[in-house]
Symmetry: C2
Subunit: 204 residues, 2 copies
């Protein structure tokens, strides 16, 4: 049973994720997915009836992956300081490893908001599950900032710099990939500091 070869369906999923995440629904080509999976174009339709269905499968998977991290990080009882540290570290890491991910999600949210929300709802992710513990913890530690602002500001600062990678790389680091990566890494520390500095202004 120990096969080295992935089954066809898995090969398709892997290839499709790569192409869809990089190019988006409109930009992706079934041919490119087939080539990357090392199979024939018509096999794609054999396993998944249409491009749309294949895309949905990928999007669900991506949403699930992102969301599951959210949950574990925002558990009850964890201090704000540790929440921020964990959150920033994890997401910066993930986005650095998958530089097309932020844009893919952002793009899909605008392109087809209803479809995104639909898949998101099916995904067993419950936003309340991390909003409530966060709200509770903020109050407990005496921070008067609204949890919405807190979470949105934090997310913004971790996602944005990756979404504009080519621009930053070019204009801040003269096109040097290493310098850019070093900078993104340094943000694990600096964003954390920035947020904690900000928070101290909300201490009651």
């Amino acid at each position: 049973m120990a096969e080295k070869e992935l089954h066809t369906e898995d090969k398709i999923i892997d290839a499709a994720r790569e192409v869809f995440v990089e190019k988006g629904m409109a930009g992706a080509r079934m041919q490119e997915i087939a080539d990357k999976a090392g199979i024939n174009k018509s096999l794609l339709h054999y396993y998944f009836r249409s491009k749309e269905k294949l895309f949905d499968a990928i999007l669900s998977q991506v949403i699930g992956g992102i969301g599951s991290m959210f949950g574990t990080m925002m558990q009850e009882g964890v201090s704000i300081e540790n929440k921020v540290k964990l959150f920033v570290d994890t997401y910066i890491e993930v986005f650095q490893l998958n530089p097309f991910l932020p844009n893919f999600i952002l793009n899909e949210i605008t392109r087809n908001p209803d479809g995104f929300i639909e898949l998101f709802s099916r995904s067993s992710i419950e936003p309340q599950k991390f909003f409530e513990p966060l709200d509770k913890q903020l109050k407990l530690e005496g921070y008067s900032i609204h949890p919405h602002d807190f979470i949105i500001n934090t997310l913004s600062m971790t996602i944005y710099p990756v979404a504009v990678k080519p621009i930053l790389k070019r204009f801040l680091f003269d096109g040097d990939e290493q310098q850019y990566n070093a900078y993104i890494n340094s943000r694990k520390e600096s964003v954390y500091t920035f947020i904690m500095n900000a928070l101290s202004g909300y201490k009651i």
Copy 2:
């Protein structure tokens, strides 16, 4: 000479901007642009040789618009406090009026970074022109934060919430557009406060 009717070329530009900004290069259709401009599809090719050329015209225009704001806001001699206020106010306003703009730019940066950088370079925008005064002012007022971090964090927090509008609208405000807009408006104040709170932690 006082014509009410726009000339054809302007009608095309307006229609094309609307469609391209909403759907992106791959998602946009020449037919839709023609319909929106109230003209025939082949006229598009008469004025602009190809879809690509039309797209470039739009992208240049958009880049120019965004960039020119940057410059005026980051003038020398303006206090950090006022820079932040002006910056946040202006950009939140612009993005609220053009909710597809953030995604369009972000998407294009990833899709064709070289093309974007090329057009950006032709646009007479010089990033140094606002980095230097900012750097100077931060030092003058005794803030030890790196200008890169400052500008990226500020940009992040103004752009991101608009780029994920459908999600926020749905999950924070149960789909209510008015509430979402009110929230975005409230961020003019809250982001300013957040940043100034953060900055006070960098005071030497």
